[in-house]
Each structure stands twice: as C-alpha cells, then as structure tokens.
C-alpha cells in the first residue's frame, strides 16, 4: 500500500510528462486524479493550467499534502501522452510498487521520438504535398521540398539550443520566405505564393489550436484562452517573419 506522498509523486511525474508534451489540461487533471484514486484518500484534487500543476491529497488521518510544479519548456510529443495514458490505465488494474511506477514513468520521460534525421524529410513531404493541395504545380512542389527541408533543419537546431518560440517562429517564417524567393529566382518554382503557403504548414500551431478548443469545451476557460492566444501569436509571428523578408527583397 502506497502512502499519499508516494502516490502524489507518481501523479505529479505523470502530469508533468503529459503537460510538457502537449496534452490538454483536463486530460492531465483526469489522469492525476485517476492515479490518486488508487489509494485510500479522502481528497484528491488537481488544478492544471498550461504553465503550472498544483495537486492536493489528504489521507484518512487528514494529513494534507500539496505540491506544485512549474512547467517551463513545452514541446510536442504525442507518443509520450499516449504512453502515460496507457500507464494510468494499467496502474489501476495492476499492483505496481512505488519504485516500479517511477521507473516506468522515467523510462517514458526519456524516450526518444522519431530520429533527428527523419524529421526534415517528413517536413519536406508536408510542404511538398500541401503546395499541391493549395493548387501548386509539380515544379512548385519540388522547390517547396527544399524549403521544408532547410526550414525544419533550422527549426530543429533552434529547438535544440532552446530559443524562445517568439524568435524561432519569426526566424522560421523569414527563412521560409527567403528560400522560396531564392528557388523562384533560380527558376525552379513558378508561384511564389503557393510555395510559401505550402511551406508555412510545418509551423502551424495545430496542437495549440486543437487543445484550446477542447479545453474550452471541457470548462477550463483559463487554459483555453491561454492556448488560443498562443496559437494566434504564433500565426502572427510567422506572418511577421515572412512579411519582413518579402518587403525587404521585393
């Protein structure tokens, strides 16, 4: 039987992994409460917004434990969310000891995503084929392939060096426009606008938008608004970056 302190540590670690990798806040709250419901607790509450986790449990003797965790860096790794989700289900049915549970969660936390070298190719494919979806020709798609490859490589590098997302999206947008201009001048691509529209797709804040909507319906208005603003700002940053380059080199 786990003590309430150990339970809340497990719940906090699980919540931290989910929130840093882009889960909705109500999903994080549900998972933490579900993990805490394994013990004989009188009270288990959690409050999560995109930057902070706060959780409180009280056992039968009314010993209150409250922990809070500040989330500073946020990335996107949906695989980890899926794994923690699976873990929280297993945790209810299986009898894990404290050490086992922490070990499993740490293994999930340190899990590597897809290979560093695969990402630029995936990004290049996204750019290439979304250019076609927006009505570009084959030659536009080929130049969008180059644009996506280079942009994602630079974004990866900036992510690795922990640039703030404000700077990395402005630089990303301007590099996209710059390389698109170069390819058009080299006579590889034809329509500049189609290439840029297709290539900006790799930076769209899809996770932020979807989470903002789903959080809002779940009643987490604070998180919904915060994420909505984040998504809107990212779109503005990308447009700013692309706009600067276009107005400089036109």
């Amino acid at each position: 039987m786990m003590s309430s302190k150990q339970l809340i540590e497990i719940a906090l670690l699980a919540g931290e992994i989910m929130l840093t990798n882009g889960a909705e806040t109500h999903r994080v709250e549900d998972t933490m409460v579900r993990i805490c419901s394994k013990g004989k607790l009188r009270l288990a509450e959690s409050f999560v917004i995109p930057t902070v986790i706060v959780a409180t449990v009280a056992d039968e003797n009314n010993n209150l434990v409250t922990v809070s965790k500040r989330i500073k860096s946020r990335t996107i790794d949906l695989n980890k969310i899926s794994l923690v989700n699976q873990f929280s289900r297993d945790f209810q049915t299986h009898e894990y000891t404290y050490e086992q549970a922490i070990e499993i969660l740490n293994k999930i936390k340190n899990k590597k995503g897809y290979s560093f070298y695969l990402l630029p190719f995936a990004a290049a494919l996204v750019c290439c084929f979304s250019t076609i979806l927006f009505g570009g020709k084959i030659r536009d798609a080929i130049s969008a392939f180059f644009v996506g490859f280079v942009t994602q490589t630079i974004l990866n590098f900036m992510n690795f060096k922990n640039f703030s997302y404000f700077i990395s999206y402005i630089i990303g947008g301007s590099i996209t426009a710059l390389i698109a201009l170069i390819t058009v001048n080299l006579n590889i691509g034809i329509h500049l606008d189609k290439i840029i529209i297709g290539s900006v797709m790799i930076m769209t804040p899809g996770v932020a938008i979807t989470n903002a909507i789903r959080d809002t319906i779940a009643g987490d208005l604070l998180s919904g608004v915060a994420r909505g603003v984040e998504a809107f700002l990212i779109a503005v940053f990308i447009a700013t970056g692309a706009g600067i380059t276009l107005s400089l080199f036109r």
Binding site: I76, L78, D193, I209, I213
Partner: protein, 148 residues
C-alpha cells in the same frame, strides 16, 4: 482528367497528414490512421466544393467528418483523440487566407486585408465549431453510458 486530379489530391492529403503525424511524434501504429483521416476530410471538402457549397460550409463538414473518424479510431486503438485529430485537420488550415491577408497588409490595401482576414477567421471558426459539436456530443454520450 478531373477524376485523375481528384485521386492525386487525395494521395497528397494522405501524405500531408501522415508526415505531419511524424512531426508531432505520434505513435508508430497510429500514423496510417492519421493519413486516412486527413484523406477522408479532404475528400468531403472537395466533393462539397464541387456540389457548389461555400468554402466555409465545406470546411465545416470536412472538420465534422474528421472529428467523428478520430473519435472512432480513438475508441478502437485506445489512444487519445487529439493524436488523430491534429494531423487530420492540417490540410484544412486556411494557410492561403493568412498569406493573402499578410500580403494585403504589406501593400497597405486595408479593405482587402479585412475582407480576407474575416474569411480566414470564419474558416478557422467553422473548424472550431465542428470540433465543439462532436466533442461535446461525445461527452454527453459517455456520461449516459456510465449511468446505464
């Protein structure tokens, strides 16, 4: 000729959603379903546009079908819904509208900027409303199932 381009568009939508799922590090097993999701949404969008629906309405119904499919996939594969939803919605994101708004602002054509900006916001809003409808119906459904 028309049918050939339709097939080509559907394959493109599949690859876009599939590759975007790799960018968001989705689980390996779900990649194929993400691609199928994006393809179905784009098919709905194209067909409705061809029947003469407005762009906003066809994006709305496309987002609706993507969301329903994501809920179904999520049930069967025991994964959270957003894993399938996010890559599926990517082809519908109004990138062209945002770009046109930006270039209109650069040329100081403010009337055009407001017009295209409003249209972009409406398309984004219709995607949001589609997600809201399906998700909240699903949650009502779940609570009924739990009670019975």
């Amino acid at each position: 000729m028309l049918e050939k381009s339709l097939v080509f568009q559907l394959i493109s939508a599949f690859i876009v959603s599939f590759s975007f799922a790799i960018l968001t590090n989705s689980p390996r097993k779900s990649l194929l379903y993400c691609g199928i999701n994006g393809m179905c949404g784009w098919l709905v969008n194209l067909l409705l546009l061809r029947f003469g629906f407005s762009q906003i309405l066809s994006v709305f119904f496309a987002a609706l079908s993507i969301n329903v499919l994501s809920e179904i996939f999520a049930r069967f594969l025991k994964n959270p819904v957003p894993i399938f939803l996010i890559p599926g919605l990517i082809p519908l994101v109004p990138g062209a509208g945002m770009y046109n708004t930006m270039t209109a602002l650069l040329k100081s054509q403010f009337e055009l900027a407001i017009k295209t900006g409003m249209q972009t916001l409406l398309i984004a809003g219709s995607i949001a409303v589609a997600i809201m409808i399906v998700t909240s119906f699903n949650w009502v459904f779940k609570t009924f199932q739990r009670k019975s």
